[in-house]
């Protein structure tokens, strides 16, 4: 007989085990789906998860995809840890990309070491500006940040659309919806000849270290932790709630904005309509899969990045749509939420009664 018993306390081990369990269940369910579609499950999973990263190029692609995911997820964890539900990182990424792209276009055909830092900074500021909208509306007008931040995603995408087909479109571009290529001085340097992995990865790593320090060593981190557990307690302790809401949104927006910069000044090198395959949304899954812990987020971003690559390989070799990647991302979140049940309950197998 199986009995479900409430746990006294979620153990540390279970806390980090359930994400692993969720990934395992995703693989099983994914295999099942492939089987139903008429593929050999193990072979399909191999195409999806192993082939894409089997060579140097594949591994570079993995890091390339993981970089924005990690950066955004780190930013989001500032919000999520303190009970602020910023769902609009995709919008902040887009707006950061617009601002930094605009600056990069200003320096078109110019060279100089100072250009790249300005472009990066502009992206961070753009993301912060865009994240400040839901934050200010929440603190001063009591609006729901989930709705506001989510809806602003579509606003920013439409702004980008307008800019790349209208005022910013490449005059020599035969009316393609894209801007000019940025000058080399406005692009993040590549780390290796022939691979696409670029210096943006250092931004992500810096964010990991800084966030770890803030979460566990500073008063701000402590206040975020308290607010995350109980807003009533935070109020009773006298923490300045409004200031904190705005601060975490700004941090989160800056990270998303930087991720946007990384995309357009790295692999893309210009602004066009599709600058992000929904990194901003997928990063929400990454943040939770990584348990809002900086190190966890590194691993989670790598795991989720594979689904992007796997989807492309599967599309090429198995002729299935690349949206399968999103199916896998969805399943990871689904199984993570489901296996979190184990945090609070344990399953006991007991022998039949005498």
């Amino acid at each position: 007989m199986i009995k479900i018993v409430k746990r006294d306390q979620p153990s540390k081990a279970i806390f980090f085990f359930t994400p692993v369990l969720a990934i395992f269940l995703t693989l099983v369910a994914g295999g099942l789906i492939f089987f139903i579609l008429g593929f050999k499950p193990f072979e399909a999973l191999k195409f999806f998860f192993i082939i894409p990263i089997a060579d140097k190029y594949g591994f570079s692609e993995l890091l390339l995809k993981a970089t924005p995911l990690c950066l955004i997820a780190i930013g989001l964890s500032f919000c999520f840890k303190s009970n602020n539900w910023n769902i609009g990182a995709e919008g902040q990424l887009t707006f950061g990309a617009i601002v930094s792209g605009g600056v990069a276009l200003l320096f078109y055909e110019q060279e100089g070491f100072y250009i790249l830092p300005i472009v990066i900074l502009a992206g961070a500021i753009g993301g912060m500006l865009y994240a400040s909208i839901p934050a200010i509306l929440k603190t001063y007008f009591n609006t729901n940040e989930i709705l506001v931040s989510l809806m602003l995603v579509y606003v920013s995408k439409l702004i980008l659309d307008y800019l790349v087909v209208g005022p910013w479109s490449n005059p020599e571009g035969f009316n393609f919806p894209e801007t000019r290529q940025f000058s080399d001085s406005a692009k993040l340097p590549l780390l290796f000849e022939g691979l696409r992995i670029h210096a943006g990865i250092f931004l992500a790593l810096a964010a990991v270290v800084i966030s770890w320090f803030v979460f566990y060593k500073t008063y701000l981190g402590f206040q975020m932790k308290v607010s995350g557990f109980s807003l009533k307690t935070a109020k009773y302790a006298g923490y300045k709630g409004k200031k904190m809401i705005i601060l975490v949104f700004l941090i989160s927006g800056a990270c998303a904005g930087l991720a946007g910069v990384g995309e357009i000044t790295g692999p893309i090198g210009q602004l066009h309509r599709e600058i992000s395959p929904d990194y901003g949304f997928t990063a929400i899954i990454v943040a939770f899969l990584g348990r809002l812990h900086p190190v966890g987020i590194i691993f989670a971003s790598l795991v989720v990045a594979i689904t992007y690559l796997g989807a492309e390989t599967a599309q090429i070799f198995m002729q299935i749509p690349k949206y399968t990647g999103q199916v896998f991302q969805g399943m990871i979140l689904f199984f993570l939420l489901a296996s979190d049940y184990l945090l609070f309950f344990k399953i006991k197998f007991i022998g039949s009664k005498k």
Partner: protein, 496 residues
């Protein structure tokens, strides 16, 4: 017809706690039974088993020799067991009648007749067509009772029914219960209030730590004997020394108002009072009459007009709790687990919630963990918190130990004024005694207390002056020696 209810060898085990340890009891109709015990003694678990909310690990329930299988509350209803819980299960925005028919399959018209009959018979004058929202606590309880009576119950269980009632409403309730009993309904009355047991019941069963310790007739017991059975030790009674009369004013509240946007909160109207050094001002009242709002206004969780609060010759009405602490105020909120402390955090982290500039818990924005831990160890030893592990998550502290930690955290900085709200709510007698002694001690040190409490005995024991809050208004402030619990009861009910 006679009703016989038998509980046979019931055991219910929760992780880390045996809530009911092989409990056997027998009840017969015609009598009113008291089930007495401290919070956590296991009486609530036992009645939840009787009402089908909890399924016991072992043991059986018999009603008139029939073995009952109570797997859900509806099973209990089918078997004519009615239950009125401590917290009302009513839909506030629905009318009284809608609340009554909600779980009944009878025709509306016939049910209405039946309800009218019940109300006439027991003298329950309630308008059936107004929303429950507009009823007093006593009336809401009557609605709950009527809901049980519709089903002609053989057994009626009342769980701590008087915790929200005034003295007058309590007397009315007792009259009704006696009437039900005369009509053959078996009544089981759960409480930890000894006076009520003596006044109402015929037989008393005492529980302690999940075990049944005694069953006896009321006529063979008195308050002291029952208290000792309940606690399992001889209680020392604490008496407060008569206060030194001080005229040195510490805090003064002037024309303080608070209007809430939330319809479930109480507005505060024109609050005026002052507290001198070394004094304890008690604020009595039935819960939900503005105590929580008053506490929040005093602590700074709700900001008010700057000049409405004068503390130590400073106007502080517009300061937040942290800023008020710098002026040497301390606060102990009612809700230990959701406000005063965070159960998932470690003890020393909870200590850091009360943060002063001079305590140096956080230097230049960084956590100074050593300082916090040092401070925590001092609190634990000075305030008898029963653990030596400050890394322990505070959810593993008992209610009493957690409250000692909270009071200790607030007091170790020797504030001039402590504002506490139901500081002993839900604690065992040992912890209550400790907290009371501590509160008396700080008065002796010429520090002041504002004690907001729903426990009249506690207020009479600790206060020098008492006021009553009713619907957000304070009564005039009285000297504690001139006040009796009856007088407080009348004021709590809203009379002058």
């Amino acid at each position: 017809m006679n009703t016989n209810l038998k509980i046979s060898n019931v055991t219910k085990i929760y992780p880390g706690c045996v809530a009911n340890d092989n409990v056997s009891l027998e009840f017969n109709s015609g009598k009113i039974y008291a089930l007495l015990g401290e919070n956590g003694a296991g009486k609530s678990t036992l009645v939840k088993i009787l009402s089908g909310v909890i399924i016991p690990d072992e043991g059986k329930i018999y009603l008139n020799e029939n073995n009952l299988n109570l797997n859900s509350p509806s099973d209990a209803k089918k078997n004519d067991i009615g239950m009125v819980f401590q917290h009302f299960n009513l839909f506030e925005t629905l009318s009284v009648f809608e609340n009554l028919i909600i779980d009944s399959d009878e025709q509306r018209e016939s049910l209405r007749e039946k309800i009218d009959l019940i109300m006439k018979k027991y003298n329950f004058p309630i308008d059936l067509d107004i929303p429950v929202l507009n009823l007093s606590a006593g009336q809401k309880q009557k609605v709950e009772i009527i809901r049980c009576l519709i089903r002609n119950p053989k057994v009626l269980i009342m769980d701590e029914p008087t915790s929200v009632l005034t003295e007058q409403e309590t007397s009315e309730l007792f009259l009704s219960l006696k009437k039900f009993s005369e009509e053959g309904i078996l009544i089981i009355y759960i409480t930890h209030k000894l006076k009520e047991v003596m006044k109402l019941c015929d037989e008393v069963a005492v529980m302690r730590r999940g075990k049944l310790v005694s069953v006896s007739e009321i006529k063979n017991e008195n308050i002291e004997s029952l208290a000792n059975k309940m606690v399992g030790q001889n209680l020392k009674t604490i008496k407060k020394k008569k206060a030194k009369t001080s005229s040195d004013q510490l805090i003064k509240i002037t024309n303080l108002n608070f209007t809430s946007d939330d319809p479930f909160e109480t507005n505060l109207m024109d609050i005026n009072f002052s507290v001198n050094r070394g004094e304890c001002l008690g604020i009595a009242g039935i819960s939900g009459n503005g105590q929580s709002e008053l506490f929040q206004v005093l602590s700074g969780e709700i900001i008010s007009e700057k000049k409405s609060i004068e503390f130590n010759n400073n106007y502080i009405g517009d300061l937040n709790p942290q800023e008020r602490r710098e002026y040497l105020m301390a606060f102990s909120p009612e809700d230990r687990l959701e406000q005063a402390a965070i159960p998932q955090m470690k003890i020393f982290e909870n200590v850091a919630l009360n943060n002063f500039k001079s305590s140096n818990f956080f230097n230049n924005g960084l956590i100074n963990e050593n300082k916090i831990k040092e401070h925590s160890k001092k609190i634990i030893s000075d305030f008898n918190v029963n653990t030596d592990n400050i890394e322990l998550k505070s959810q593993f502290l008992s209610g009493g130990n957690l409250q000692k930690l909270i009071i200790g955290r607030e007091l170790i900085t020797s504030p001039d004024l402590l504002i506490c709200f139901n500081p002993t709510w839900g604690l065992d007698v040992g912890a209550i005694n400790y907290i009371h002694e501590t509160l008396i001690k700080i008065n002796d040190q010429n520090k002041s207390i504002i004690l907001i409490s729903t426990d009249t005995d506690e207020l009479l024991k600790l206060s020098d002056k008492i006021s009553v809050i009713h619907k957000g208004k304070l009564s005039k402030i009285m000297n504690a020696e001139e006040v009796t619990s009856e007088k407080l009861g009348i004021l709590m009910g809203g009379a002058n």
